[in-house]
């Protein structure tokens, strides 16, 4: 009998079927943003795209890919690339990776950065899904969080994208913004729903270190809504999106049936993924890696080899904890069958018996009806961290 807590889990020998590529350029830095991104003006974008190609070469020779089923190009703002750069970049992706004909191929975009030429370059290059950072439809709030677009830009960008043949579109909205009221949020939701998109992401603002918001917060100058107000916003979102026929398939994500983000589900299912680009994270071969973050340092590092900042082996136990921590974000929850597949037949109740019992008693999780698995209860959804944290040492 294999000791599943010490033996290398089968999961660690799976070839990634998902690919993440990071484009670390933006037109400007938003006040809440701590992503690895740099203002594009004056950056060596072409040299960066060269370096990306080099990393692609090195990656596929180190870990030869099988058919890729989902691609996600994030940032930054990938759509700051000029149309020729876009064409060249996307061509290099499909040259190095065998991308399935029916793959989900997402690119992040900011409203106002997608003119018809660029949209055409994206479509021609294989992109079939666009995720726009709308954040809110209140122009005052947009300015207050450092966005440079206006609400109308969102509407126009969506119209252009549809005209260019993109049907699988999503927008991000944020709640819990400084001084944001429930009325403002309700209005944004109405405007978003009018766009009649198949997918919406609704994120609560999290104040991260090394951002302008964090400095304001530390000084007591960031008037965030109270916990109760934020809960009311979250409830409102769930009601409105649910009422409009969108499934709440992950804590922050809503979709019409069949339009759930397949790429992000890779993370939530604890499955491996390639991660390329400055500051990108990848998970393959039983290791999580983080790439060198700065643009020029990344370019230099890619000359020499794989541009890694850190590579950390994931122990079987840690991988199991991750499985719970990310899997329970999905409303469908975690399944015993998936756990057994990843960990050589291990049983959830053997590994996490005490934690599961306690969370069941607290009413934060429930057994999945008709299936051998667990998911967050209705009460557990807004208290997810209490659940995820329970599986950590």
């Amino acid at each position: 009998m294999i000791d599943t807590l010490t033996a290398r889990p089968p999961l660690h020998d799976w070839t990634p079927r998902a690919l993440y590529i990071h484009i670390p350029f933006c037109t400007n830095k938003c006040y809440y943003c701590d992503f690895n991104s740099y203002v594009a003006a004056g950056q060596p974008i072409d040299a960066y795209l060269d370096a990306l190609e080099r990393e692609m070469e090195r990656t596929v020779s180190a870990l030869p890919p099988e058919t890729i089923r989902k691609v996600f190009v994030g940032g930054g703002t990938p759509t700051v690339l000029a149309p020729p750069q876009m064409t060249r970049f996307l061509a290099s992706v499909s040259r190095h990776f065998p991308i399935a004909a029916d793959a989900e191929f997402t690119m992040e975009a900011n409203p106002g950065t997608t003119d018809p030429d660029k949209l055409e370059a994206m479509r021609a290059g294989g992109v079939n899904r666009i995720s726009f950072g709308a954040q809110t439809f209140d122009n005052g709030l947009l300015a207050a969080i450092g966005r440079i677009h206006e609400a109308d830009d969102v509407v126009n960008s969506i119209r252009n994208a549809k005209a260019a043949g993109f049907a699988n579109l999503s927008i991000d909205l944020m709640f819990g913004l400084p001084r944001q009221t429930l009325e403002q949020l309700a209005d944004s939701v109405s405007r978003a729903l009018e766009l009649d998109l198949p997918h919406y992401s609704l994120y609560s603002l999290k104040v991260e270190e090394n951002t302008l918001f964090h400095r304001l917060y530390e000084r007591g100058e960031l008037p965030l809504p109270e916990e109760d107000a934020e809960v009311a916003m979250f409830e409102h979102l769930r009601e409105r999106l649910g009422g409009a026929g969108y499934g709440h398939y992950e804590i922050s994500n809503f979709a019409r049936p069949g339009y759930e983000s397949r790429h992000n589900s890779t993370y939530w299912r604890n499955e491996p993924y390639y991660g390329l680009g400055a500051g990108a994270h990848g998970y393959a071969n039983g290791e999580r890696h983080l790439n060198v973050k700065g643009v020029q340092p990344y370019i230099d590092a890619a000359q020499r080899g794989l541009p890694r900042l850190e590579t950390n082996p994931v122990s079987p136990r840690e991988a199991m904890e991750d499985f719970m921590m990310v899997g329970l974000r999905l409303r469908a929850g975690v399944r015993q069958a998936d756990f057994a597949r990843q960990f050589a037949g291990a049983r959830l109740t053997d590994v996490f018996g005490a934690e599961l019992r306690r969370l069941l008693e607290q009413g934060l999780i429930e057994a999945t009806p008709g299936e051998d698995g667990y998911r967050l209860s209705e009460r557990g959804v807004p208290l997810g961290n209490e659940v995820f944290g329970a599986f950590l040492p």
Partner: protein
């Protein structure tokens, strides 16, 4: 004995007499901020004990804590050589003393090792209450007191007025008081001359059996216990079989030495000498500050009187946050007790906090210092319960018990009456603040005794106040209501019957023993309300609603509710950054581990001190 040997012996005795007649032992009495440490530094510099290059500011305050707070907690003893105007070289021993009321015990220790004291008075501020208390202690010890008016460089200095005050208030002749500015090095030589001329040389017989006073000690990892001693009679040297008269322990001396200011070995210490002795003493309990050292083979008949043992006035529970630190905490307390005989502790158990110690302190500052030293020097994170005083409780069956832990307070039915300690508080303030002080004291159940003008501007107010009220936030309030101008001192004046009740705090319906406190019945309702509000702010939201109740007996006097936590969930995985998510969750979990689980409620450390900070 041949004639020659007799001659040698005579010469030796003459040498010894000469040596002894050239020793001067003195200490410095001063209020906090009046410049004691600076003056000590200047004296070291002037006598060449340290070159200015070696000077680190406040040399004598060697603890980090002392430098940071600018106060002296532990005393130190330094040997200086001074060539006086009469052409002779004198050996001076300067024994540093703490200035705060809580350390009176330490002051009495250094006084017992001296023949003289410099009384430092700030030329702008004049005499403070605390200084007076120590001057009286010094007078009781028959010390020669040399007034020094310091800080004459200040624009607001009024040396003549302060001189007059020294004469009026203390009754000392201040006509020859040195006018000094320690900061600018003015008057240092005059001070040293007065020490040589006015402080008597130590008495004592070098040929009598050894008799030396331990006035302090500390533990050294290599040398074991280092005892700071003042030799009264006889001599002590390496190899002397010494006996601690109170504990009966005997050791052969390994090393004797003096502080110059670094510890330096010498051949022997004779009458009047101040220095240290080590003997590879590993067990800190064998030595006791205040004990007398003698020669085991040729013991002295009578030990020295030792010190007035001061009973602790303030008690609190000290608990390790991590229960596995319990034994380390015991070791830490034993090491601190070694040179702080006023510290008391005994094991106690709390349902809420587990195993810990009930500790007795001389006052609030003493308590704070000990806590900080344990956390810093021994690296043991602590939970401290609110301080309590000792109540004398008479039960209905006539039995009398002392209660220093509120959770042991008997139930109302078994209680005949309770007495609580009162102090006589002396507060010196500029006259503009008299109203504020009176209001404060009355609010603290104080009874007015007396008010006297020290001069045209300053007033001494005397009140009888329950010690328990001072233990709460009296210092802070005093400071804030007088802009820091008040000077405050107190002495215990006895016990009085009071109408007191025990207030219990219930979290989620369960009584938390470590949060109970004793309060005057008339204030119970108000205190209960405030503490419930405080706890509501301090205890984070839990997974369920947590009622907080304050109760006297069965009666709930106040109630607040901590609402259940409603939202705690991370928004997003940033481009597959699982490690960041993990770190955030781990951090959250770490925070929970630092809290104490009381029943099923997680309570942060600060909550146990909440009763202390009631802004009523």
């Amino acid at each position: 004995m041949t004639q020659a040997l007799v001659e040698v012996r005579k010469r030796q005795m003459a040498d010894n007499d000469r040596k002894q007649s050239h020793i001067r032992n003195f200490c410095i009495i001063a209020h906090i901020d009046h410049g004691k440490s600076t003056l000590a530094d200047r004296i070291l510099e002037y006598t060449g004990t340290l070159t200015s290059r070696e000077m680190q500011e406040q040399v004598l305050d060697s603890m980090d804590l002392e430098r940071e707070r600018g106060i002296t907690i532990k005393l130190q003893a330094v040997r200086l050589k001074y060539k006086a105007d009469d052409g002779e070289i004198y050996t001076l021993h300067l024994i540093d003393t703490p200035g705060h009321v809580d350390f009176t015990y330490e002051v009495s220790r250094s006084l017992a090792a001296c023949e003289g004291a410099l009384l430092i008075v700030d030329a702008a501020q004049g005499i403070e209450a605390q200084t007076l208390a120590n001057v009286y202690l010094a007078l009781d010890n028959n010390l020669e007191i040399l007034p020094v008016i310091n800080k004459i460089d200040l624009p607001s200095a009024e040396p003549e007025r302060v001189k007059q005050e020294v004469e009026d208030v203390i009754g000392l002749d201040a006509s020859e008081a040195v006018l000094a500015s320690a900061k600018n090095g003015v008057g240092i030589k005059e001070i040293l001359e007065q020490v040589v001329q006015k402080v008597p040389a130590p008495q004592g017989d070098p040929n009598a059996p050894l008799k030396a006073l331990i006035f302090d000690s500390h533990y050294d990892a290599y040398k074991g216990v280092v005892c700071y001693i003042r030799v009264i009679d006889g001599t002590i040297r390496a190899g002397t079989p010494m006996k601690f008269m109170a504990t009966g322990a005997t050791f052969d001396v390994v090393e004797v030495g003096t502080f110059m200011p670094r510890a330096t070995a010498v051949a022997e210490l004779g009458p009047g000498d101040v220095g240290f002795v080590t003997a590879s003493i590993k067990n800190v309990k064998d030595t006791r500050v205040g004990d007398t050292i003698t020669n085991a083979k040729q013991p002295t008949a009578e030990p020295l009187p030792g010190y007035r043992r001061i009973n602790p006035m303030v008690f609190c529970g000290l608990y390790p946050i991590d229960s596995s630190d319990y034994n380390d905490l015991r070791d830490a307390l034993e090491k601190l007790e070694l040179n702080d005989a006023s510290l008391r502790f005994e094991p106690e158990t709390s349902q809420a906090l587990g195993f810990g110690f009930r500790c007795g302190f001389l006052g609030m500052l003493h308590m704070e210092i000990i806590q900080e030293r344990i956390e810093r020097e021994f690296n043991i994170p602590l939970i401290t319960t609110a301080p309590s005083v000792v109540y004398k409780v008479t039960l209905t069956n006539g039995q009398q018990v002392d209660i220093s832990n509120p959770s042991e307070y008997p139930e109302a039915g078994k209680l005949e009456f309770v007495e609580e300690p009162y102090v006589k508080a002396s507060i010196i303030v500029p006259k503009d603040f008299v109203g504020a002080i009176m209001e404060l004291c009355q609010g603290k159940r104080g009874e007015f005794i007396d008010m006297q003008y020290l001069d045209a501007n300053r007033v001494t107010l005397k009140y009888d106040i329950p010690l328990a009220e001072i233990v709460y936030d009296f210092f802070d309030q005093l400071k804030s209501s007088t802009k820091g101008y008040a000077s405050f001192d107190y002495e215990v004046s006895g016990y009085r019957q009071s109408n007191l009740v025990k207030m219990d705090i219930l979290l989620n319906g369960e009584q938390v023993d470590a949060l109970s406190f004793i309060v005057h019945r008339d204030r119970a309702y108000q205190r209960g309300r405030v503490i419930c509000e405080k706890l509501k702010d301090l205890i984070p939201r839990q997974m369920f609603e947590v009622p907080i109740q304050a109760a006297v007996g069965q009666k709930i006097v106040s109630r607040e509710t901590i609402k259940a936590m409603r939202k705690n969930v991370l928004a997003k995985c940033y481009g597959g950054d699982i490690s960041r998510k993990r770190k955030l969750l781990e951090k959250q979990k770490e925070g929970k581990k630092r809290m104490k689980q009381v029943g099923n409620v997680e309570v942060p450390q600060e909550a146990f001190m909440a009763v202390l900070k009631l802004d009523e």
